[in-house]
């Protein structure tokens, strides 16, 4: 565990509330269970460009469905940058990046009246930075035991968070971090039918945390395909809500139209028979497709950055 800088800020969130806090490059946000068994919803934004925010789906595809210590939280696919490194996370902190966030209507339909919920709590917290409820995005949920099966069904089981558990998030870029107690905790196992306080601490950057970031940047910055607003064909943020068609707009689709070239491949009797056998087993619809699929699969497994470990997704 690296040494952090001095404690810069500390506060306790009483249920149910949230707080938006700047956590700058090299700083560490610590989220602590004051009593245990409390689900925490987490949102985040690039402090200098709120349109770059935490990408739940990008993080899922880059990492996994259940983040652990050592994984990274990524920004949205339009920017695709590492945002936080999870420096510390106990095994009792099961995470969820599938479930999004609860909202008021969930509880009305369950027979409750106006009830605490993450959409509204996060909205209230980010209002301090002039962000709107529409800017709340899908959460990275800490201490949330979501399970799922191969049919796509999901459900939530008992919260396993313990008193004094903590999660440390190292900011890789300057961020606005937003943490909130999940407001549904008193209606189900998500927080074991009660709502509890959480503590937030922000530690300053240190030589060690900055060194970690430099290592991450050397590996993950400047990846071809990562974009900034300067790369966008349309890069002005709309100031009105109504959508109007721009008759002068011409889309620029990548590599459009696709062009295909046939490549002759000479196969001997044995290779042709093998390919036909693979087709018979359902590997491809014909021998031609079999050869192309085999090459693409072989390349993916033997030559891509993922396969060789040069770049971890």
């Amino acid at each position: 565990m690296p040494t952090y800088g001095a404690l810069k800020e500390e506060l306790v969130l009483q249920p149910v509330s949230g707080k938006a806090l700047p956590v700058l490059r090299g700083e560490v946000l610590r989220i602590i269970q004051e009593e245990g068994e409390q689900c925490v919803d987490f949102n985040a934004f690039n402090l200098h460009d709120y349109k770059e925010y935490m990408g739940a789906s990008n993080t899922r595809s880059r990492q996994k469905f259940r983040l652990k210590k050592g994984d990274m939280v990524w920004t949205v696919s339009s920017r695709d940058r590492p945002m936080y490194l999870i420096l510390e996370m106990p095994a009792s902190c099961v995470t969820d990046i599938l479930g999004g966030r609860c909202k008021a209507s969930n509880f009305v339909s369950l027979g409750f009246d106006l009830h605490t919920n993450c959409q509204d709590t996060l909205s209230a917290a980010i209002g301090e930075y002039d962000l709107t409820p529409d800017d709340v995005h899908d959460s990275f949920n800490l201490w949330m035991n979501t399970e799922w099966d191969s049919t796509g069904s999901s459900w939530i089981t008992k919260n396993t968070g313990r008193k004094n558990d903590y999660v440390d998030l190292l900011a890789i870029i300057d961020t606005l971090a937003v943490a909130a107690q999940c407001g549904s905790g008193d209606t189900g196992p998500i927080s074991n039918y009660s709502l509890k306080p959480i503590r937030l601490q922000v530690y300053g950057a240190s030589e060690e945390t900055l060194q970690i970031i430099e290592n991450i940047e050397s590996r993950y910055s400047g990846i071809p395909g990562q974009r900034t607003p300067a790369d966008f064909k349309v890069n002005k943020i709309k100031s009105d809500r109504e959508l109007h068609r721009n008759p002068n707009y011409v889309p620029e689709f990548i590599n459009y139209p696709l062009k295909t070239r046939p490549i002759p491949v000479e196969l001997d009797v044995n290779d042709f028979a093998k390919a036909e056998a693979m087709v018979a087993k359902g590997f491809a619809k014909d021998v031609s497709e079999c050869l192309r699929v085999a090459l693409m699969m072989w390349y993916s497994r033997n030559r891509t950055a993922k396969a060789t470990g040069r770049l971890r997704y």
Binding site: D271, F272, S288, M296
Partner: protein, 56 residues
């Protein structure tokens, strides 16, 4: 699939379509020169390697 057979050599020519995005992979493999320098040769030899690796 376009296919023609050479009875004398008992081989079959199979035409394998690649779009320009997929073709980049062949260009890289050609530069690498581990499986040959001709596209058709590379495809054939990687097919053989794939079959070996995957146990087909």
């Amino acid at each position: 699939m376009a296919k023609s057979e050479s009875q004398s050599r008992k081989t079959t020519i199979v035409e394998v379509p690649f779009n320009q995005q997929q073709y980049v992979i062949l260009e890289k493999l050609r530069t690498e020169n581990v499986f040959g320098t001709e596209d058709g040769e590379i495809i054939r030899r990687i097919f053989q390697e794939f079959v070996k690796q995957e146990g087909y």
